[in-house]
Symmetry: C2
Subunit: 144 residues, 2 copies
Amino acid sequence: MRISAKAEYACVAMLELAANFAEPQPLPIKVIAEAQEIPQNFLVQILLQLKTAGLVVSVRGASGGYQLARSPDAITMADIINAIDDRAAAPRSALAKGRLSRAVGVLLGIWQEVQAEEQRALQRITLAELVRRIQEDHALSYQI
Amino acid sequence: MRISAKAEYACVAMLELAANFAEPQPLPIKVIAEAQEIPQNFLVQILLQLKTAGLVVSVRGASGGYQLARSPDAITMADIINAIDDRAAAPRSALAKGRLSRAVGVLLGIWQEVQAEEQRALQRITLAELVRRIQEDHALSYQI
DNA sequence: CGAATCTTTATTATTATGATAAAGATGGTT
DNA sequence: AACCATCTTTATCATAATAATAAAGATTCG
């Protein structure tokens, strides 16, 4: 799995928002960027995409910011990654100008099967589960 | 699944070699390139990678060319695609300069899980199975 | 020897990714 | 009303990855 920096940034930004989920005040971009060391201007674009996908909501104006649109256990890794990179889009053949050869058509079917497996794996993991794993990981590092 | 043009070319080139598997003479690059409409110089590099991966063998000199290194039912899509793009390589974080944050470490583990699913899906389909699907597809187009 | 072919490496063109910048719109606060 | 912090939108640039081209060298058959 080759994940883009953008999608990874999106995941950690969502983690930051998940940590703030109980709070009524939204988190400003600047705060998220500093907490997670994400280039602020890049994060601007990332949050816009997450918003377009309906994963976060924004509050404009002074004391504005971002919040999760719904509970962390109702948001999956697939949601986040597809919002940024759209790995769920129908695979296109890199070749195939115009009509598909039979061989390429069959290959496309295979890429679809593989992609479906990937999507299922990403859907199995929610943002809440991600938070849980990180906490466990943290706890472990103190057991030693 | 976002597959590179190079990997797709590799698959159709392997199909051409599979069709020639029973023959004792190897297929020259030029013949494969023309049959499958692959840029010949590009195919040069592709076959080199397939050879390095041990999927094909080459015969040099006049009347030389390429042949599958083993039976089509002993070659999987994973073999071919990994020879070209190496999708089996350990996922690296696009972020993470130096030591990983806890969050990024956990994310890496998830990318690994997802990648493992992808690999399993690609390993399930052999070159022989691909040939079979294309023939079926062909047969279907005449049943109408 | 010479033609056909693989081998190896270098270069270029195009596209995707990662990042930066800034002007405009909005809304709370004074 | 003015101001400031913030989101919004669009444009631009730099770097890296991908796709493709090119060509000189090595090998073997006839």
